[in-house]
């Protein structure tokens, strides 16, 4: 038993060691060129170890590994321990994280070559991988929160990597603050759970306690909703999604790793991990579903008319994350295993194809010297054939082209929603509406993905003038990860689930899911392929792609029919949501801050006025100081006489 958990510790600590090594390299001369080695080696080793563990998983009893806990801090009843828990869910995530981060690390070697702060980049990336692994493995809510925040910090540092750019600086701050706003709820939720669960903070202990001593419905709902706040912030769900599009100010590999593949899925993972809690609260679950559905549709709409390639991908990420939340939102209505596996499956495939898409976009950017605005270039398929191919793979997967990975995972989510609309006693109608929304989203997804694809790669070749034709395909070190990810994006879905059911069988062994299953009434789920759903989604994807091809395949920038123009404008302006936020939240807050400053000065002035009072009295009394000694003596004596009269008459008592 000690051996596998030692392996887990090794997986966790390797990236940390990588981060420290890279950080130590920063001042060294070769730090400029060799700083990537620690990170890539650490991630690759961690990935290898994760896969090793995966292969040995069957020998693990009870489907869970717990580490020997040690106390981080404890006072009174708050007892926070550092303990790790590995189950199938965590291991899957772990594998995905380490593999994807290895790829992206490799890609970064080429992409970031020659950048200032090379070592800083890899140190923080490595730290991020450590934090992400820790987040997945943590078995204590506060430890989880710790890694959760550390992940946010790394994101902050990497978004602000080009700190000279004001937009990057602003985006970094925005990302940190918006996610942190969600974390306020997260923290309170943790405390609420702490209180509900008899002062426990270990995840497993909390689950055990709450399943045996079921708390009042409202309380568990409140706790879950507060947890959801954190998840919504981190996973960029409505209404806290606004930071993610801006986060594209970071280097593209960062966007690929953090803002597409891993960190943003932390919220999904959290909800999945806390399935036993959410299973206790249908209200929280349906809220999750609505948030997810709404976000999916909204983000898909916002992605329609963006001109920044990375921004399209960012909105698409938000939208796909919304899908995952939608899947999680069926948790009570369908069997928890189905809901979580649907979300997790999509999470995995999304990680692959979205990383691929971002890296391809990064490749484009690299080739074009940092230009990513679709209005400035086009028709690159001849100049960048490999990138084009990879992007196509990714886009097809995202759009849900049959047999590709995104197709399968999206189908599973649709299947779950359909099942929920059939089975849910209370919210059946709601789920039906959500189903329609998700179908519409699928259509829009296919459309905007291929809009971007066509605009970038089809049509006549257009290049930004300042490049003077120096456009070149990526180097081998960048191409290799692209190819690996492309293979994954194309094939992983089919291999993992629809035919083998490997994933669902594996993940179903997770103890938390089994625990969750004990409190829901939904019938058990048998993995199968629902061909109806598959055909519907095929039709939708095909329609979307066809529409996009019809409008944009000529490669001319943005020629839209008049009907669509206002809609596209609305989308391009992002529904003015940013402006609304600014008007409703930020401006009032800043106004309040200004008011506070003014009020503080006023209050200070008031106190000074009070302090000036003795001075004024003195001003009034100073006339008595007329310089006549005898007058002073007289005053003194008269005072003494009065005092003596007081004393003699006993008035002093």
């Amino acid at each position: 038993m000690s051996e596998p958990i030692g392996l887990v510790w090794l997986i966790l600590l390797l990236p940390l060691a990588g981060a420290v090594t890279a950080a130590l390299l920063t001042p060294a001369r070769f730090g400029r060129t060799l700083a990537h080695v620690p990170m890539i080696v650490a991630c690759a080793c961690a990935a290898l170890l994760a896969v090793t563990l995966l292969t040995q998983w069957e020998r693990i009893p009870q489907g869970q590994l717990l580490s020997e806990p040690w106390t981080w801090f404890a006072a009174g009843r708050l007892h926070v321990r550092v303990s790790l828990a590995v189950d199938a869910l965590a291991l899957t995530m772990l594998t995905m994280i380490t593999v994807v981060s290895s790829c992206i690390g490799l890609f970064s070697v080429g992409y970031m070559a020659g950048e200032r702060g090379y070592a800083r980049y890899f140190a923080v990336m490595s730290l991020f991988v450590f934090a992400m692994c820790g987040l997945v493995l943590a078995n204590n809510f506060f430890l989880l929160l710790g890694f959760w925040e550390l992940v946010g910090l790394c994101s902050y540092l990497l978004i602000g990597y080009y700190f000279v750019r004001p937009s990057a600086a602003a985006a970094a701050r925005k990302a940190f603050l918006v996610t942190r706003l969600g974390d306020v709820g997260f923290v309170l939720g943790i405390f609420w759970l702490w209180k509900l669960s008899g002062w426990q903070t270990d995840l497993t202990a909390v689950f055990d306690h709450l399943l045996t001593h079921q708390p009042p419905q409202e309380e568990i709902t409140a706790a879950c909703l507060l947890l959801l706040c954190g998840a919504v912030g981190k996973s960029a769900q409505f209404p806290l999604y606004v930071w993610l599009p801006d986060a594209m100010e970071g280097p593209t590999p960062v966007s690929a790793l953090i803002h597409a593949a891993t960190m943003v899925t932390a919220g999904v993972y959290l909800v999945g991990r806390c399935a036993p809690l959410f299973a206790l609260s249908p209200t929280a679950v349906i809220t999750t579903a609505w948030l997810g559905g709404l976000t999916a549709l909204l983000a898909a709409f916002l992605a329609l008319a963006q001109t920044d390639l990375k921004r399209i991908l960012a909105y698409s990420t938000v939208s796909q994350l919304g899908y995952m939340f939608l899947a999680l939102g069926t948790l009570g209505a369908v069997h928890p295993t189905l809901a979580v596996i649907a979300a997790l499956f999509h999470l995995l495939t999304h990680a692959l194809f979205k990383a691929l898409l971002f890296l391809s976009a990064g490749s484009v950017m690299h080739a074009l010297g940092g230009i990513i605005d679709l209005r400035q270039f086009g028709g690159l398929r001849h100049r960048l054939p490999l990138t084009h191919l990879c992007f196509l793979c990714g886009a097809a997967a995202l759009a849900g082209v049959p047999l590709l990975s995104g197709f399968w995972s999206k189908d599973l989510i649709l299947e779950s929603v359909i099942a929920a609309s059939e089975q849910s006693p209370a919210y059946g109608g709601g789920y039906y509406l959500l189903l329609l929304m998700s179908l519409l989203t699928a259509l829009l997804t296919a459309f905007y993905t291929f809009r971007a694809y066509f605009l970038a790669f089809w049509g006549p070749e257009r290049l930004p003038p300042q490049l003077q034709g120096h456009v070149h395909e990526a180097s081998a070190v960048m191409s290799l990860p692209l190819v690996v990810l492309a293979i994954g994006a194309v094939g992983a879905g089919a291999i993992l689930e629809p035919f083998t059911h490997a994933l669902s069988q594996f993940v179903a062994t997770t103890p938390a899911l089994q625990q969750a299953a004990t409190v829901v009434t939904a019938p058990a789920w048998q993995p199968h392929i629902d061909w109806t759903v598959a055909s519907i989604s095929t039709v939708l994807a095909a329609t979307g792609i066809a529409l996009a091809a019809g409008l944009f395949a000529r490669g001319e920038p943005e020629q839209l029919p008049a009907v669509l123009a206002p809609v596209m404008t609305l989308s391009q302006r992002e529904l003015y949501i940013e402006a609304v936020y600014r008007a409703v939240l930020i401006r009032p807050a800043e106004g309040l801050a200004f008011l506070a400053k003014v009020a503080d000065q006023a209050w200070d002035g008031l106190l000074h006025l009070l302090a000036a009072l003795p001075g004024m009295i003195g001003q009034w009394l100073r006339v008595m100081h007329n310089g006549l000694v005898q007058f002073y003596a007289l005053a003194m004596m008269l005072g003494l006489v009065v005092l003596m009269i007081f004393v003699v008459l006993g008035l002093s008592r």
């Binding site: 981080w72 801090f73 009174g76």
Partner: protein, 652 residues
């Protein structure tokens, strides 16, 4: 060992005083001697802490939390001049400063004693006070050029005052040391401060805090006169006073249970007034909204070395006074009004400070308002009056001291180069001074409460304390929400500051003409690293391994919580339930070798009065009157005022 500890305790206070005398002799060359002396003092403090920590851990193992009715007192260790002589440790001193009326042995007259000692509550504040002087000296290294000897002497004096107040167990001695800090601070701000407002600022600071602390003195004197010992003699010893307060309250409570609540009500009314009086000075010192207006001005105008001490030490005097004086002496009022009134003020301060900090154009002012915000959380959490809140408060004092002090020290970096700390003139310092930026980032993130750094732990504990706190007219959940929002808001204004100052392309102000330098100084130099880099490392260490500190604090926090639970019992609230978790690691083997023999049984060796199930409190109708407390020390038995209910045994 005991003797070594006592000598160390004595030295820890007297050494800075001696240093204050010695340093001016060096005149212009006082910097290095001052630094050397500060390091020596740090060594002394470290030795003392090293001696004390095992005892505190042992204590923590000995008394796991349970609710008792015993009368609890602070149990200082290493009391110089201990009455028990060389080998024993009675925790009381025989060193008198002033004897007002020497009385007979059985009824001694009031006497101010030189009563110092270490316990869990002040243990970690000592190294804080010792340590933070080093950044203060280093931050003044080049910016202070006039009358250096006097300047460093005053810094030492301020430190001595803070240390004395931390160590004092005699309320009058505490007050003396408390005020001692004021005088050097006044001169340091007024003489070495910057700008034309410095005299005004010094005066405001002095008068404001003095006015408050005089009211506190009034409260202290009232407590002293209202709660004499059982034999009628007046005492200034804090352990005795708190014992007397508890004894009176318990006696009144028994009367109330016997159907005569008047005495209890009267005592509680009295407590309210005492509470208000005691509180005022400390609230101003912390400061808590709306008593804070002296603070931004003083912090801004004072030289940075002084600001470090002001924020790291003097503010802690206020919060420490709340823990050490207010809670044990007025427990009922603290329970009734602590969260409801002070907590509300603190909560307003959390938001208000954050809002004010957001708009500041001056970094020192920004940090001053951030202090207001952070210490608001500390104050609120402290009045939760439970173990989580109190542990968090004690820990947060240390954490906030290190973090904020180091941030101010980091500002000295800018001050030495450009002689300004306005935000508007800086941008993109990350490109200009990357190492500096890294350190400041760590410090800012610590202030923001990032996990893994020190403030996170204490803030979580404070929030946990607030979250479960209950007082007669409500619960602390709302305050916890505000506190959590405060953590968010601190990120808001601090990251905005980072964005403005460290990100974007480089912009720096012109070099100050006064220094005559043609080129700016390089990135963080060795001395500067010691000034704020080491504290940054410390932030990380404290964030990762806080349990060492918390464990040492535990037993004395328990002691305060017992008082709090007794107050809750009187207010009809359930006491904190027993600890569900077993002791973390059972203590194995013999007590630590450097344990003074008298300390084997905590609580003076008296057997506990017997644990009572929490449900039996308050007493069920017709239930047995709780057993009387076992007097721990002679002469301190509770003065039970008759009438007692007849027919029920009183086990006195």
């Amino acid at each position: 060992m005991a003797i070594t500890g006592r000598i160390l305790v004595l030295l820890v206070v007297l050494f800075p005083l001696g240093a204050a005398l010695l340093v001016p002799l060096f005149g212009r060359y006082a910097r290095r001697p001052a630094l050397l002396l500060a390091l020596l003092h740090l060594g002394l403090t470290a030795a003392l802490v090293g001696l004390t920590v095992p005892i505190m851990h042992y204590r923590a193992e000995q008394d796991n939390y349970r609710y008792t009715e015993e009368i609890v007192r602070f149990r200082p260790e290493y009391v110089p001049g201990d009455v028990a002589g060389k080998e024993g440790a009675a925790g009381r001193t025989r060193w008198n400063l002033w004897v007002f009326q020497p009385g007979p042995a059985d009824r001694p007259g009031p006497k101010v004693q030189f009563y110092l000692g270490v316990d869990g509550l002040n243990l970690w504040l000592l190294p804080l006070a010792s340590f933070m002087l080093i950044p203060a000296i280093l931050a003044s290294w080049e910016s202070v050029t006039e009358r250096r000897g006097l300047y460093y002497a005053l810094l030492f004096l301020m430190q001595a005052g803070a240390l004395g107040a931390f160590l004092a167990f005699d309320v009058i001695l505490f007050y003396l040391f408390f005020e001692l800090t004021l005088i050097p601070a006044f001169f340091l701000i007024g003489r070495w401060g910057s700008g034309t407002e410095r005299r005004q600022a010094a005066r405001t600071f002095f008068l404001y805090t003095l006015a408050g602390s005089l009211i506190t003195l009034l409260g202290l004197i009232s407590v002293i006169l209202l709660f004499p010992n059982a034999n009628g003699s007046v005492t200034f010893s804090l352990p005795d006073l708190m014992g007397n307060v508890q004894a009176r309250l318990q006696a009144a409570q028994w009367q109330a249970q016997a159907g005569q609540p008047e005495a209890l009500q009267q005592l509680q009314r009295q407590q309210t007034w005492l509470f208000v009086a005691l509180l005022t000075g400390f609230l101003i010192k912390v400061p808590v909204w709306p008593f804070h207006t002296w603070q931004p001005q003083a912090y801004t105008v004072a030289p940075l070395g002084v600001t470090i001490l002001l924020s790291a030490l003097l503010a802690k005097l206020g919060t420490y006074g709340l823990v050490r004086i207010v809670l044990p002496l007025t427990p009922d009022a603290a329970l009734h009004y602590g969260l409801a009134v002070v907590g509300t003020l603190a909560a307003v301060g959390i938001v208000y400070g954050a809002l004010c900090a957001y708009n500041q154009k001056e970094l020192k002012r920004l940090l001053a308002y951030s202090s207001l915000s952070h210490l608001g959380l500390l104050t609120a959490g402290l009045f939760a009056f439970n173990r989580e809140g109190l542990s968090g408060a004690v820990l947060h004092m240390v954490n906030h001291g290190v973090t904020t002090g180091a941030l101010f020290a980091a500002l000295a970096f800018l001050w030495e180069r450009y002689a300004t700390t306005q935000t508007g003139v800086y941008a993109g310092l990350m490109g200009r001074y990357p190492r500096y930026a890294v350190i400041v980032f760590v410090l800012v993130l610590a202030a923001v409460g990032l996990p893994g750094l020190n403030n996170f732990v204490s803030e979580m504990l404070l929030l946990a304390g607030l979250f479960q706190a209950r007082y007669p007219s409500g619960s602390g959940v709302g305050l916890a929400v505000v506190g959590a929002m405060g953590i968010f808001l601190s990120a808001w204004y601090l990251l905005t500051m980072l964005q403005q100052v460290f990100f974007r392309s480089v912009r720096e102000p012109p070099l100050p003409a006064a220094t005559g330098r043609q080129e700016t100084l390089p990135d963080v130099r060795g001395r500067e690293f010691w000034a704020f880099g080491i504290p940054a490392v410390l932030c990380l260490v404290l964030g990762l391994a806080p349990q060492l500190l918390l464990e040492a604090v535990r037993s004395d926090v328990r002691l305060l919580t017992v008082i709090g639970d007794q107050a809750r019992g009187r207010a009809g609230l359930p006491p904190s339930p027993a600890d569900p978790a077993p002791p973390l690691k059972p203590y194995q083997g013999a007590p630590p070798p450097n344990m003074p023999p008298g300390m084997m049984m905590p609580g003076g060796g008296a057997p506990p009065a017997g644990p009572r199930p929490p449900a039996a409190f308050p007493a069920p109708p017709g239930g047995a009157i709780p057993k009387g407390p076992a007097p721990l020390l002679p002469g301190a038995a509770p003065k039970v005022v008759t009438p007692r209910p007849t027919g029920q045994p009183m086990n006195q």
